[in-house]
């Protein structure tokens, strides 16, 4: 009964979305404020309806209602409550409902906060979002409906894939969707601007907060996914260039480029048609990613169930949404006024370099991911593109950009002083040399390339610190002056510093993987294994029962000399329902290094295979991601994004001139 309510709510949401699109786009065309206001209400209603539908699905999972086909296929009663919740989006149909829920959430947010926006812009944005919603609601209702009943209802469900039963998984998909579904807002803004024929600084100001919010969530989502893979999959890797991973990385790269080029549009009123294109492409990449994951076109360790019919539907959606917007772009973009010029060595130049490299990196990942399909389509040999390709292309492309991150923020607008900036970065140079020397010493002459990588990270981090110090006139102006400057800085500048610094931290974590040490052995009770200056002692093995699994649990003691550092309990879990064995690693971290322990197969003579790794700086990879997202959030809290309120009070839509360097 409740599920039918949810089903009905979703159908109603489709009708409301149609209404939303119709009202807003007609209202904007006719400049009819009443129609546009009604459209905004429709957006709020759409969100409420989809939220209701989602809630009924969650309810069905919580009570283990196996008469609902989706619950029967993906859940079981003997499952912890948390995983009953996460199962809702651990499958294709449920995750699509989450997808449209977040789409509607952003739409409702725009409708709610849209008072400050020019009404026609707000209306058009909601109109485009409504059109997208129509497409995906149709997709759900016609091909991927989770509200269908199963008759007769089975006694027990098929359960959730054991590998997905993990707290990290609970938050990974929602954040990912908040990210790349959120880019639909930038997309809608771009289409609205094309319809309007006008792109100006005001438009860029409106786009940035929404793009920033999406970007923060996507950064966290990707970091979480990577961290989850690291501790779950039992082999210590954290990025595999898997098609599904690439599908989330590409919008991130494009979104980062978009954030930076929007700055140029806002401050210098140039790079406008490129930014519009980028906004369209970012969400297009999200859509293409959705297609890749759900259509069976690419193999992936964690792709959803393969169904070409669904693929056809999404492909048609893609053609309409992406093809339509790009056609609109081809038609209307030439009308956008070209903006001011700038010297190649300048802040704009650095941002242009940022875009150039990020776009190339994104294209590289795209080509690598789709190349096997392309080859097959043109009748070529069957080849696979694995991590060696991406390592040899993506990484060299990124290096110049990472170098520029340290220098770029120190360049002035319009025409920058390259040598002057380099001189001001003397402290960063010193940091680089110091970091490399220290690393070289500590790692007893470790791989040169990892040492260089640490140097690069030091350059980026040093550059970020030098920039903020320079801006605050630290050590150059009297202290009261510095404090005053510190307090009156727009938050966005702190956000930038944090984000760039976070990136440096991540780079350090990645570079340090060259210093990793390992120990692999067959251990009997009482035996020890020396790894990286630690001693690992095998103390015991026992059986352990979980709610829906049985496990062999090893007891290990990690010693440094004679001092006990940690007790580690890796497990091998067997899930009888799915007949699957999953390894649960034990990790001891002090946030500067991880000691990573995985239990392997027994040899049935009392010995157990044990794989132990010491991974220095690996936590930095995800800590850096969190810092980046935090920096984005700080930028988001900048009061200039609430400028609309000020403008409204002042009675005009124009924005005050802003001469601060930010």
């Amino acid at each position: 009964m409740i599920i039918e309510l949810g089903h009905f709510a979703l159908i109603l949401a489709l009708a409301v979305a149609t209404l939303q699109a119709g009202l807003t786009l007609t209202g904007a065309a006719r400049n009819d404020l009443n129609l546009m206001a009604a459209g905004r209400l429709a957006a709020l209603a759409q969100f409420a309806l989809i939220a209701l539908a989602f809630a009924t699905l969650v309810h069905a999972y919580f009570v283990s209602d196996f008469s609902v086909a989706n619950v029967a296929e993906n859940s079981s009663s003997a499952k912890p409550l948390l995983y009953k919740l996460t199962s809702v989006w651990g499958n294709h149909e449920g995750s699509m409902v989450l997808w449209v829920l977040i789409l509607a959430l952003y739409g409702a947010a725009i409708a709610w906060f849209g008072d400050a926006m020019p009404p026609r812009l707000c209306a058009r944005v909601l109109g485009v979002k409504g059109l997208i919603a129509i497409g995906f609601l149709l997709f759900i209702l016609l091909t991927s409906n989770p509200f269908l009943r199963l008759s007769p209802a089975p006694e027990e469900g098929m359960g959730l894939n054991p590998i997905l039963q993990d707290p990290g998984l609970a938050f990974h998909p929602p954040f990912l969707y908040l990210g790349y579904v959120g880019f639909s807002v930038a997309f809608a803004f771009a289409v609205a601007a094309l319809i309007d024929g006008r792109v100006d600084a005001a438009w860029a100001r409106w786009v940035r907060p929404w793009t920033l919010a999406s970007w923060c969530c996507l950064t966290l989502g990707i970091a979480m996914g990577s961290w989850w893979a690291y501790y779950t999959l039992g082999w210590g890797g954290w990025w595999f260039w898997d098609p599904v991973e690439n599908a989330s990385l590409m919008p991130w790269l494009a979104g980062t480029a978009l954030l930076h080029s929007a700055i140029v549009v806002e401050r210098r009123d140039t790079l406008k048609s490129w930014t519009i294109l980028l906004a369209i492409l970012t969400f297009s990449l999200s859509l293409v990613g959705t297609f890749l994951v759900r259509s069976g076109v690419l193999t992936s360790v964690h792709a959803f169930a393969l169904d070409p019919r669904r693929g056809v539907f999404i492909l048609v959606l893609l053609c309409i949404a992406i093809g339509g917007s790009l056609a609109l772009y081809a038609w209307r973009a030439p009308a956008v006024e070209p903006g001011g010029v700038f010297a190649p060595i300048s802040r704009e130049g650095a941002l242009l370099l940022n875009n150039l490299i990020l776009a190339s990196c994104c294209a590289t990942v795209f080509i690598g991911t789709l190349y096997p399909l392309f080859l097959d389509a043109v009748g070529g040999p069957k080849l696979s593109v694995g991590y060696p390709f991406f390592d040899r292309t993506f990484v060299p492309l990124m290096i110049p950009l990472l170098l520029a991150v340290g220098l770029g923020p120190l360049l002035a607008w319009k025409r920058g002083d390259f040598l002057g900036a380099l001189q001001r970065l003397w402290a960063a140079f010193a940091a680089v040399i110091a970091a490399m020397l220290v690393t070289f010493y500590l790692s007893h002459g470790g791989p040169v390339l990892s040492v260089l990588g640490i140097g690069l990270a030091a350059w980026m981090g040093g550059g970020a610190i030098v920039e903020i110090a320079d801006r605050l006139r630290l050590f150059r102006a009297p202290w009261p002056d510095v404090v005053r400057r510190a307090l009156t800085q727009p938050r966005a500048s702190y956000g930038m510093t944090l984000a760039h610094y976070g990136l440096a931290v991540t780079v350090a974590g990645i570079a340090a993987s060259g210093f990793e040490q390992q120990g692999i052995a067959l251990l009997h009770l009482g035996q020890t294994l020396p790894v990286a200056g630690y001693t690992l002692r095998f103390d015991g093995i026992g059986r352990h029962e979980g709610i829906n699994y049985t496990a062999d649990r090893g007891d290990f003691t990690l010693l440094e000399g004679t001092r006990v550092v940690a007790q580690l309990e890796p497990e091998r879990r067997f899930f009888p329902l799915q007949q699957q064995t999953v390894s649960k690693t034990a990790i001891h971290t002090n946030f500067f290094a991880d000691f990573y322990l995985a239990l392997g197969d027994p040899d049935n003579k009392g010995g157990w295979a044990v794989r132990a790794y010491w991974k220095p700086l690996v936590p930095f990879i995800w800590i850096g991601g969190v810092i980046m997202a935090f920096g984005g959030a700080v930028s988001l809290s900048d009061r200039r994004w609430r400028i609309g309120i000020v403008a409204r009070r002042a009675g005009k839509a124009a924005l005050p001139a802003d001469r601060s360097r930010a």
């Binding site: 590289t364 080849l383 991590y387 492309l397």
Partner: protein, 152 residues
């Protein structure tokens, strides 16, 4: 200098994951074992999608790891060992797509795109600035001076 940086970048990016190799498979000779690992990391596990046979716990991966070590012990060089596997499974088993006419587009496009993009950016930066407006007359010039003085 640039080449060294690029080489650094390439090898930096080679991320050592943890391994699925069992202690019983490992060769006693560390040099041979290291070669076996390096070869194994280049070969795709065909039943797992996107893992190398060194990283995968699958049966087939285990079998191939054992075969690689046997062949190395028998004295094959790295190329011969890889050929042993590709003879049976085709080039698909290589994680690094071979650089051949079918993949020139793949391997050269990243830098080609970068260069094309840079060229595009260059032409964009070289755009002619807008032609100067009509020269100001005396009144307008006085107005301009006054405004500039006010601003300071």
């Amino acid at each position: 200098m640039i080449r060294a940086l690029i080489a650094a970048a390439i090898l930096l990016g080679a991320m050592p994951a943890a391994l699925a190799v069992e202690p019983s498979e490992m060769l006693p000779n560390p040099a041979l074992e290291a070669r076996a690992e390096a070869i194994g990391k280049q070969l795709r596990c065909l039943v797992c999608q996107n893992e190398s046979i060194e990283d995968s716990g699958a049966d087939l991966a285990h079998d191939l790891r054992v075969i690689i070590r046997e062949r190395l012990k028998a004295g094959d060089n790295d190329g011969q060992v890889v050929k042993y596997v590709t003879d049976r499974y085709g080039a698909f088993v290589l994680l690094k797509p071979p650089v051949e006419p079918a993949t020139y587009l793949l391997w050269f496009s990243p830098f080609a795109i970068l260069i094309l993009g840079a060229a595009g950016a260059w032409f964009y930066l070289r755009r002619r600035p807008a032609p100067p407006d009509e020269p100001l007359d005396l009144d307008q010039r006085r107005q301009l001076e006054r405004l500039l003085l006010d601003d300071q």
